[in-house]
Symmetry: C2
Subunit: 278 residues, 2 copies
């Protein structure tokens, strides 16, 4: 069996694993327009923590700041456990690329990660899955044809509502999308792919304005609400994703995203702030 | 005129301002139960960036990870501009305290900040202020009497709904609060105080369960949707705050918060993930 493209994209080598230093290379499979799909960059930052031998527990929170687009080629990841408590652990991560002409490394990405050894407690959801959503089998798959945007082909997306506008007619509308999604080539859900899936929602400003303005994520924060057992229950099945914009002001807007299992378990909540023009 | 307690709490000295190294001391005025009020710690992290001579623009995003409670006493803040682009800037911040017995410094807080030079653009809100809220003058001020929790006395809170349960009867309910709030001692709103105000909402698990379990914020992310002009328009007036829980699972839950000006301008959106027991 060949390696899944996501696992290829996340492949990290280590020269000194205890020092948390890893090397990898950008993946053409997940290329976006001017750099890798941000979700994969977020997943790589998380993966460096998950590979570290000092890891305590499972991911709780991940913040990734996209300081600059990665260029195609090799990169370095430095994961540092800056504080380990009895049941929680705090990490900083930085992704850099070699500087041109032997210059200083190029800082492309900063991240912080919180991991924790969870304990069984009371639990409840105040964010139930939308009730009026048809099952994925009844929803048509989104296809934009040969877009030249490689990462879009790595996901199977079945928009229930709020699909990408087919006409850019600048007709003001809402900013909410609901869609079923999973890896196009089946792959059991794990924390890294959940981190990536949290970033698949296209910029809300395009939907809100039905206008295709330049836009790009500046920072994303994802909270994980699942342990290994909850992820295993999903396997390679669809997740229901929902994304909605919040405030659009002078060049930046924020959007939230929620990801439920088909059974209605809220696995991740995510927020991002996005640069936009005009 | 005496210095406002918030400005005292945020007072930072610098030995080498270009190196981004500052020193300060915890404030008894904003003491919580086992450390300073997290909102003030977040504000201090932001303030170190705002004081830095290399600052570009105004705050867009702030993530603060509470790795350990600060102890009463002095602390060090290191603010580092890790990447400066044409219109955005990325920062890392760490707060440490001197180690005991001359040991290694104690890492208490990590943070990342994005700042940017905003440009005037199209704008809109998809998160309007709740329409059915009486003005602050018609809402009674929250007072819990001598609580021994100093920071609570620094804010004037007027809960419209979802006040802290008066009886811990474990009656399951919703997790939403709406309240008017401002500094008890008037102070014009700025980015630092907006960062602090984003963290005033008590743990949603207390409301959801009407049960007072141990709980503490692990990580908070705040997005700023205002420039200096929008803050100046607020002055020292009330903000309407709304907080609601999302997912409660095995020891951690997340809650979102929104802060509007009285005129209905959404100034900040914030999310945090909170540790809880039982």
């Amino acid at each position: 069996m060949s390696t899944h493209p996501f696992d290829k994209a996340l492949a990290l080598q280590h020269s000194d694993i205890r020092a948390g230093h890893f090397t990898g290379a950008t993946s053409p499979d997940y290329w976006n327009m001017v750099g890798p799909f941000g979700g994969v960059t977020a997943a790589i930052a998380l993966q460096s923590v998950l590979l570290h031998p000092d890891l305590l527990g499972t991911p709780i929170a991940l913040t990734v700041n996209f300081a600059a687009a990665l260029e195609a080629g090799p990169f370095d990841v430095q994961a540092t456990p800056v504080r380990t408590n009895r049941s929680t652990q705090h990490w900083t991560v930085q992704i850099t690329q070699p500087g041109t002409g032997g210059g200083a490394p190029n800082m492309t990405t900063t991240a912080t990660v919180v991991t924790a050894a969870r304990r069984q407690t009371w639990g409840e959801s105040d964010l139930p899955m939308p009730a009026d959503v048809p099952p994925p089998e009844q929803v048509e798959r989104f296809s934009i044809g040969p877009s030249g945007v490689a990462w879009l082909d790595r996901y199977e997306m079945r928009p229930v509502s709020g699909g990408i506008p087919s006409r850019w007619d600048e007709d003001l509308r809402h900013s909410e999308s609901r869609l079923w999604l999973r890896d196009a080539e089946r792959r059991p859900l794990d924390f890294a792919s959940l981190a990536a899936l949290s970033d698949v929602f296209y910029p809300r400003v395009w939907l809100r304005r039905a206008k295709h303005v330049p836009a790009g994520t500046v920072s994303i924060t994802t909270y994980f609400h699942a342990g290994a057992a909850q992820l295993a229950e999903v396997g390679a099945d669809y997740l229901l994703g929902r994304a909605v914009g919040q405030q659009f002001f002078n060049g930046f807007f924020d959007q939230q995203a929620h990801l439920w299992s088909r059974q209605g378990v809220l696995l991740a909540t995510s927020n991002q702030i996005v640069y936009y023009k005009e």
